[in-house]
């Protein structure tokens, strides 16, 4: 008899394609969209854009330096012994060595050296995002600007207008380099830094690490859990709505006339919901694993968390069913499905992690069923153990008990005219 009540509930859900679409299709679609759209970007595993830069050298900087020392060394008091130091100051060599040929940059910068004769063709062919042309006499003019305070040389850069992002990146690199280079030289002139000081290059990191040194949670994993705990809440409105339909159509009267205690009916609602909610989470977890390679550590902790959130969802469903029955209206469950789930999802961090933006509201969110469950899942993902998720499990436990008590107090003991 009890089994019949549960079986009936499962069949009803199975035969409701619209409900299934919301409860399973929607979270899968959202996890997919968010996972594919943001996943690689936020995880730092993105394929960076490839920027092609060409250097066209009209002169060899080292040869030009040697010629300068030979021709004007006496005038400026520069001996051959100073050549190594001067070599370190050469702007193009430094730009190539520290920036464009830097190991960190080569992942997205592809640098090629072309001859000056190839410049016209390269521009025409649209092969490069930027062409940096080092004109003839550039090195001499640069050295004169240092020793004679002469005008600084101009370094022509041709940017490909069709490739806005790439050219912006190149422009920013060169601007930053130019600023730092000028700054270093100015400081050196004032004797504020040592001559062999090298221009620091900002390290680019591509991995995300948490402050506490816990394992990072990938975006796909985060949204799999957050969407899961949001969509698990939709069972409340769905099952409570179906339960009301049973009252409205006098099916509940038939159940009572079969001498089924209303409390048994309510327990059947809770158990069906718990089962369906757990099944939904299992399907979402498997999907996330197969499609986004989300891995799970200790299964037992996930099962405990899922069971606890499912229990709360079952309790909440019972409360909403009781309210629907009491007030002879489906408004309560409709309101829950249309508005309250969204508010809970926002507070619980299903849309985005609130703790970094609004920590106070995030703390409130930990006391929502979905918020507590999400925190529990994330803690497990970060390598947390049972003790660490216990506060969240306790919150869920307290909520579940509270909902059960309310439901049994409010639920009518008889049927009657709708």
């Amino acid at each position: 008899m009890f089994l019949a009540l549960i079986q009936k509930q499962l069949k009803l859900i199975w035969r409701s394609p619209q409900e299934l679409l919301i409860l399973l299709g929607m979270p899968i679609a959202l996890i997919s969209i968010i996972g594919f759209a943001l996943g690689s970007l936020l995880d730092g595993n993105s394929e960076a854009i490839q920027i092609k830069v060409a250097f066209a050298m009209h002169e060899d900087e080292n040869v030009a330096l040697e010629t300068f020392v030979q021709d004007k060394g006496e005038t400026f008091g520069i001996g051959r012994n100073m050549l190594p130091s001067l070599q370190q100051m050469l702007p193009i060599a430094t730009l190539r060595k520290e920036v464009f040929d830097n190991e960190e940059m080569t992942s997205f910068l592809q640098v090629t050296t072309i001859t000056p004769q190839e410049i016209a063709k390269a521009k025409q062919d649209d092969v490069y995002d930027a062409i940096i042309e080092v004109p003839s006499g550039f090195t001499e003019q640069f050295l004169l600007s240092i020793f004679e305070q002469d005008t600084a040389p101009v370094l022509p850069i041709y940017l490909n207008d069709d490739k806005e992002i790439a050219t912006t990146v190149v422009k920013r690199i060169v601007d930053t380099y130019q600023y730092q280079f000028t700054l270093m030289n100015a400081l050196a002139e004032q004797g504020m830094i040592e001559a062999d000081f090298t221009i620091p290059i900002a390290k680019v990191s591509s991995s995300i690490e948490t402050v506490n040194g816990q394992q990072p949670v990938s975006v796909s994993a985060y949204y799999s859990f957050s969407m899961g705990v949001m969509f698990i809440m939709y069972w409340v409105g769905t099952i409570a709505g179906q339960a009301f339909l049973e009252k409205d159509k006098h099916i509940f009267d038939r159940i009572l006339l079969a001498n089924i205690n209303p409390a048994i009916y309510l327990v059947a609602i809770i158990i069906s919901t718990v089962f369906l909610a757990m099944l939904q989470m299992l399907i979402l977890f498997i999907f996330a694993h197969l499609v986004f390679d989300v891995s799970y550590g200790p299964w037992s902790l996930y099962i405990v968390t899922t069971f606890m959130i499912a229990l709360v969802v079952g309790g909440l469903t019972a409360v909403l069913s009781a309210i629907n029955y009491k007030f002879n209206s489906v408004s309560a469950s409709n309101l829950f499905g249309s508005s309250i789930v969204a508010i809970l999802a926002l507070l619980g961090g299903s849309f985005f992690n609130l703790s970094s933006i609004m920590p106070d509201i995030a703390r409130i969110g930990y006391f929502t069923p979905n918020g507590a469950a999400l925190q529990s899942y994330l803690t497990i993902q970060q390598g947390g153990n049972l003790a660490q998720i216990m506060p969240y499990l306790s919150t869920l436990g307290v909520l579940a008990i509270m909902f059960f008590v309310c439901a049994f107090l409010v639920f009518p003991k008889r049927g009657g005219i709708a």
Partner: protein, 310 residues
Amino acid sequence: MIEVVNLTKSFKKVKAVNDVNLYIEPGEIVGLLGPNGAGKSTTIAMVSTLIQPTAGDILLQQKSVLQHPIALRNVLGVVPQDIALYEELTAQENLEFFGSIHKIPKRKLKERIETVLQQIGLQQELKKPVKHYSGGMKRRLNIGVALLHEPQYLIMDEPTVGIDPQSRNYILETVKKLNKEANTAIIYTSHYMEEVEYLCDRIYIMDKGQIIATGTKEEIKAILSSEKTIELKLEKHSKPFVEELLQQGVLSNIQVKESHISFNVAKHTDFLPIVLPLCETHGIVLKSFHVQEPTLEDVFLHLTGRALRN
């Protein structure tokens, strides 16, 4: 026997059912008639033990069932006015579910489902979801579900509402057969007077929460049997003729509609010696006349001042 004693139900200040007494004995069909809002559904809900009365009692074999409704529920089947079925499930699944919650053992349930399907004529299309059934088929299944646990008493609340005449006839015959073959006692409510007249041994007429008349069909009709209704069809309308007819003291409730005139006279009054001289005086040709005995509808109208379907 089920007895309803001084049953009263108040919703806040409104008395939906006021001091109702009725009974039903094994094997009989009892009609419960009343316009919308008369209190029939509330009475049925109380008799079904679904709502508690404010006052009064319900007895099964002279034992109150108010505190312990199980005994009555075990022998009672209820066919609600609404289609109380799961539309997404098939007929088979609906019957299995309702049979299971009645704790009918699996093997017996299989037999019962077969029997019930025969009784309601739904052996075909068992695997089709109920939502694809016609209105008549749904009504029949609605009845079938109430028969699964072989109830001795059956309450049927307007079981033929909104269905085609063929299905309606089928249901009426099913009710008759159930009563005859299984000796099931039936409380039958309907808006269709002819259904009640055809099926019921005894009738209760309810209005404004009270039973205003009770008895067999003949006893109920006897309320109006002191009078008969006469309908005259004249060749043409004549105002002076009608005015003089109105002056005759033995006639009452005179209604004129063009060349048709109807009136009531005492059952044993000979009306022709009154009417024929008047026709002659006013040069009116009497084309035909019709003498009508009172129907249940007339009695209902007489008692409640309303037509049953209003």
